[in-house]
Structure formats: C-alpha cells, structure tokens
C-alpha cells in the first residue's frame, strides 16, 4: 500500500518540525476536516470528536521532529492515532454506563413532511451509530475517508477479505435500517 510511494505530507511535516511559521496553519487547514470527520463518524458525538482531533494534532506537533518518511504515510499514521483515540473513548463508554442513551432521531418514514437532506443525514447517523464498531470503522474508512481497500485493511489489522465481509454486512444492515425512509434501497 503506502510503502514505496512518496508521502505527499513529507515536506510539510518537515517544515512543522523546523517550526516554520505558517506550516502548522497550513497543515491544520489541510487535515483538520478529514480527521474531525473521521472522529465524528466513529464517535457520533461532536464534542468528543473535537477533543480527539485536538489530541491528534498535539501528537502531530510532538512527533513531527522524529518523523522518518518511508515506513508509512503520515496521513495513515494520523488515521491510526485517531482510531486509537476513538476506540479508547468507545471502550470508556462501555465501562461507564451512560445515564441516558444519546438522543437519536426517529428514522421511520415521515409521510407528512418532505424529506430534507438534513433529515436523511440524521437518519444515516443514527443507523451508523447502531452498527457494531468494526463494521462502522470499515464503512467510515472506505466510504467516507475514501481509503483504498488495502490501506483500510492494514489500518484495521485485518485481511482485505475480512474487510469486504465487514463492509458487506454493514451496508446490508444500513440498507435495512434506512429503507423505510429512502426509496430504492
């Protein structure tokens, strides 16, 4: 996957390591949206996702001087860090019983009102939140983060075959959950 390919972030990471003015801002502009979206979709919680994104970038600032290109792409490393931080939080949620389950919108049909994109979006979020974590991770990495199958499988520590199985089960489940509100599924 990433081995042997030039890392598009290499030069910018080196500039961050040297403390060059403007390099960090450029990097934040380039990566924050992607990392925040990954955390947001894994955690389905905006506040927690912001905390995770901040922690990821703190680690970027800390590790940039020691970064040696070649082993893995920097973006892949950032995804790995983000996923680890998300899993820490998902584990903590299991260990600490939640006082109230997070409020999720009704995903049932709404015949009396037109379906807006925002309604569909909220229904998708609710359906994603119901998926087992590994299925959600597979969909987030392949569909939303648009990683290649080999890179996603390596990030998850599984084979491509296992990744395809997770993806198929996730999409089947999403289709079943969302079918009442979206025609043609």
């Amino acid at each position: 996957m990433s081995q042997g390919r030039a890392d598009p972030d290499e030069e910018l990471v080196a500039r961050i390591a040297r403390g060059e003015p403007g390099a960090a801002n450029k990097f934040v502009a380039l990566k924050l949206g992607r990392i925040l979206a990954l955390a947001r979709r894994m955690l389905t919680d905006a506040v927690e996702a912001e905390d995770v994104a901040q922690e990821v970038f703190l680690r970027v600032w800390r590790h940039a001087p020691a970064w040696r290109p070649g082993a893995a792409r920097f973006d892949t490393w950032m995804h790995r860090v983000t996923l680890n931080l998300c899993y820490d939080r998902l584990r903590r949620r299991r260990e600490i019983p939640q006082a109230e389950p997070p409020e999720m919108p009704d995903t049932g049909p709404a015949p009396d009102r037109g379906l807006l994109a925002a309604d569909v979006g909220r229904a998708v979020e609710a359906a994603m939140a119901k998926l087992p974590h590994r299925q959600r991770e597979a969909i987030v990495l392949c569909h939303y983060q648009e990683l290649g199958n080999i890179e996603a499988a390596e990030l998850m520590g599984i084979s491509v075959e296992a990744l395809e199985s997770l993806l198929s089960r996730a999409r089947r489940s999403l289709r079943a959950t969302l079918a009442p509100m979206a025609q043609g599924l």
Binding site: I16, R18, G19, E20, P21, A23, A24, N25, V28, A29, L32, G33, L36, A37, R40, R41, A46, A49, E50, A53, Q54, F57, L58, W61, A117, A118, V120, G121, R122, V124, E125, M128, I139, C142, H143, Y144, E146, G148, N149, I150, V160, E161, L163, E164, S165, L167, S168, R171, R172, L174, R175, L178, A182, G184, L185
Partner: protein
C-alpha cells in the same frame, strides 16, 4: 469463501464488489475496476445491482458532519511549535534596551572621568596618540623607552 481480484469478472464477484464497496467504480479496488466495468458494459443485468448500490451511496452521502469551527482551528494551531524569529516589536524592544545600555555606559564613564578612576597612565595615552599620528603621517610608530635597568 470470497474470490478477490478474479479475472474475468463474473456475476458473483460483481455482486461482492457492489455489496462491499458500493456502486461508484472509483471506490472499487484498483485491480477489480477495469474487469468490473467491462462486465458491466456487457451485462445488462448488472446495472440494476449497481443502481441499488448507488442509491445507498447517495443516502450515506447525506450525512455530512459539521465543518471544523474557526475556534477549534485556532486552538489546535496555537499548540504548534514555532521557532520564533525577531518580530518588529522585538526589534523595537531591543533598540530601546541598547540605547539604555549606551546611556548607562556614558554615565558610568563620565563618573569615572570625574573621579579620576580608570584613567590610563599619561605615557600610555601619549604612546597611543603618537602611534595613531605616526600611522597617519607615515612616520614609524614610537616605541616606549625601556627603563635602563631592563637592558
């Protein structure tokens, strides 16, 4: 057992592809993409399968998380390490400090002059002055006379 990257593409593998990766060919594994597109072009029945997958892709695309706020961007960027160069403000402060040091130096020097402290012995000053003059008019510099006892 799933069959990965099989050439030529068949109905089973095409179904696996669309069920796992959806209907957009850009998301299909690179090694499967060309055979799958050829299969699609040659197999009308495959279009319905792909259309259903595309519909789910479209619905999933409706979930677009909020963009990062300016406040979050600022907090994150503020934590980045920066090697500070001299800014105009730093230069101004440095200039004021240098001027203050000069004034203090002059005042201390003037104080020493008034009390006679730190004055060079007359002959040393004379020698230095003579050397400068000699350098200017081309005459050899004066050499301080040695005490007779040293010769």
């Amino acid at each position: 057992m799933k069959r990965l990257n099989v050439e030529p593409m068949d109905a089973e593998r095409f179904e696996q592809l669309t069920q796992a990766y959806g209907g957009e060919s850009a998301r299909w594994p690179q090694t499967d993409r060309a055979p799958a597109l050829r299969y699609l072009a040659a197999t009308p029945a495959a279009h319905a399968m792909r259309a259903q997958a595309l519909r789910l892709d479209e619905v999933l695309g409706a979930w677009a998380p909020e963009a990062a706020s300016a406040a979050l961007r600022g907090r994150i960027a503020a934590g980045a390490p920066v090697v500070r160069g001299l800014r105009p403000r730093d230069l101004w402060i440095s200039g004021v400090g240098l001027a203050a040091a000069c004034v203090i130096g002059l005042m201390v020097g003037a104080g020493f002059g008034a009390t006679g402290l730190g004055q060079a012995p007359a002959h040393e000053g004379d020698t230095a002055t003579a050397n400068i003059s000699a350098a200017l008019d081309g005459t050899p510099p004066a050499v301080p006379a040695l005490d007779e006892g040293e010769s």
